[in-house]
Amino acid sequence: MNFNQIVTVYLKELRDALRDRRTLVSMFIVPTLVIPIIILGFGVVTAKIIRKARAETPGVMLLGAKDSPEIRAALAAHPRIRIVPARDDFRTLISNKSLRAAVELPDDFDAALLESRPSTVRLYTYDGEIKSGFATGELDRFFRDYREKAIQARLSERGLPAALVRPYEITRQNVAPPEKVGGNLVGGFIPYVIILLCFTGAMYPAMDLTAGEKERGTLETLLCSPVGRTEIVLGKFLVVLTSALSTVVLAGISAMATFPLGALLFAPEAGPARAVGSAAVAAARSPMPQIDPLGFLASLAMVAPIAVLFAAGLLALSLFAKSYKEAQSYVSPLIVVIILPALSAMLPGVELNLQLSLIPILNVSLVCKELVSGIFHWGHLSLIFASSCVYAAIALALAVRMFNRETVLFRT
């Protein structure tokens, strides 16, 4: 093997690739901007939506309670809800979001409470709609507090202690360090984005340096030179790998910069978080999730063999195509093949085991999820790294083999 020729091909192809706008966009611009846009952009938008929702005093309809002036007055006096006149089409109003929630009480609610008769408070809500959720949350808290006061009053009347109905309190204390909590929150998402970016980083140069060259007629010019085909394919492969790895590194740097920046941006909003039953709300009210820096760097290292696999696989596949357009039609559907295992790692409850350690892409996604949480399972790490290297070597051997086949090079 002639290393000088490989370097000559590599340097020329790299220069050529760096003059291609599509490659520049996929290699530098996309990886630098995607993670900040996703994390900061979504964070800002989510926080804005939640702030707006919180600022609104939701319209709530009171149904029934015709003979219960006390509860009507208490609800009307509640500062965070606005009681609107009752109508029969309240369900439609909630569904078309012109009404946030409704509460239905028995007409004799006050009397039933006084006589200790059981009654039911029915809340009508629109599940998944944030403003309806806030309104229902307010109603829920109001009626729990109201019930608590009634219990206290009854116990007090009978001279009984409060502990009679509340023998103990329950409190919850988080022992997970912030990076573990952050790792769980973003652990599946970050490798998913980086693997996807790695693929797109390899995609354009791979197609351009093979099918694109065939289409433009420059591949035949190159094949006429004394350089060996193995040297040509290795030079081209190294360029595609450079693009894929630079995408990973830039996305990594961008992510590392995004989290502290996000913490700065969102820190002023971090107040005493109240449980409102929505992860998005909780995330927006908390500082940015923290991730383990060492684990994050290790996860980038784990993506390296995947970059080799993508570079070699895409090179072999694109070489088979006669034109850039044909290569696109082969390569584009592969994005789904990449997304599925990477996405599977984000599903709750999918944990790394021996079998999953051997499934390419999924294994790296899963182990990255652990790494950014600061968990290092060296056995899994070694197995995944080794298996990824084997897959990468097979893909590279296939690319070299394809480059030595006349029927592929001169396919018409």
Binding site: D20, E220, T221, L223, C224, S225, V227, E406
Partner: protein
Amino acid sequence: MIVAQGLTKSFHDKKRGQIMAVQDVSFTCHPGRIYGLLGANGAGKTTTLRMLATLLKPTHGTATVAGLSVTERPAEVRAQVGFLAASTALYARLTARETLAYFGRLNGLPAAEVAARTQRLADDLEMHEFLDRRVDKFSTGMKQKTSIARTLIHDPAVIIFDEPTLGLDVMAARTILRFVRDCKARGKTVIYSTHIMSEVEKLCDTIGIIHGGRLLAEGSLADLRARYAETDMEEIFIKAIGEKEAA
């Protein structure tokens, strides 16, 4: 010198089965002479030349280029060959100088020699004006000159032209034809494939008529005129392939 002996190339096509692109083709090209390979589209010219340039491996037969076997020492053969075809394009995003430097380095030339040869070729071909401009901004004539310089950068002993004037205007085609004659004058072994009758009449010392993958007739223009009792090359060509069709 090029010596082809029984060159044969077959391909497998899913729809058409086994296709004999070139069958038992033998000829010899001498230094300082131009061998013209004349044939219609699909006659087997490009396949023959690609075998000589070691881009394709012969199914049967062999050839030597500058004394080197195309099957046994392909890389060394390519170092002796300059290949110029309508299908051998230039890198659009490189400048002419970068193109010459790249192919010079691929041919193992040291940087100083690449620079010296680039200078000499730029002088000969009047390329200085556009030497440092990107190829994608070139006119057809500039591209042709750059392609010629790319073919000559390693000073090959053998030059193969495969329909080099295809799709060119008159002026660009004349640049190529002048370059072919220069190669002959400098003692290079030249093989020139075309389907344009007038080009072989003007250029070639020996003409081989190829049809259906077989070399049907070979000789100087005078020999072929005498054999087929025709003066016009087109008539000679028709008679040559007509004999085959009749057979």
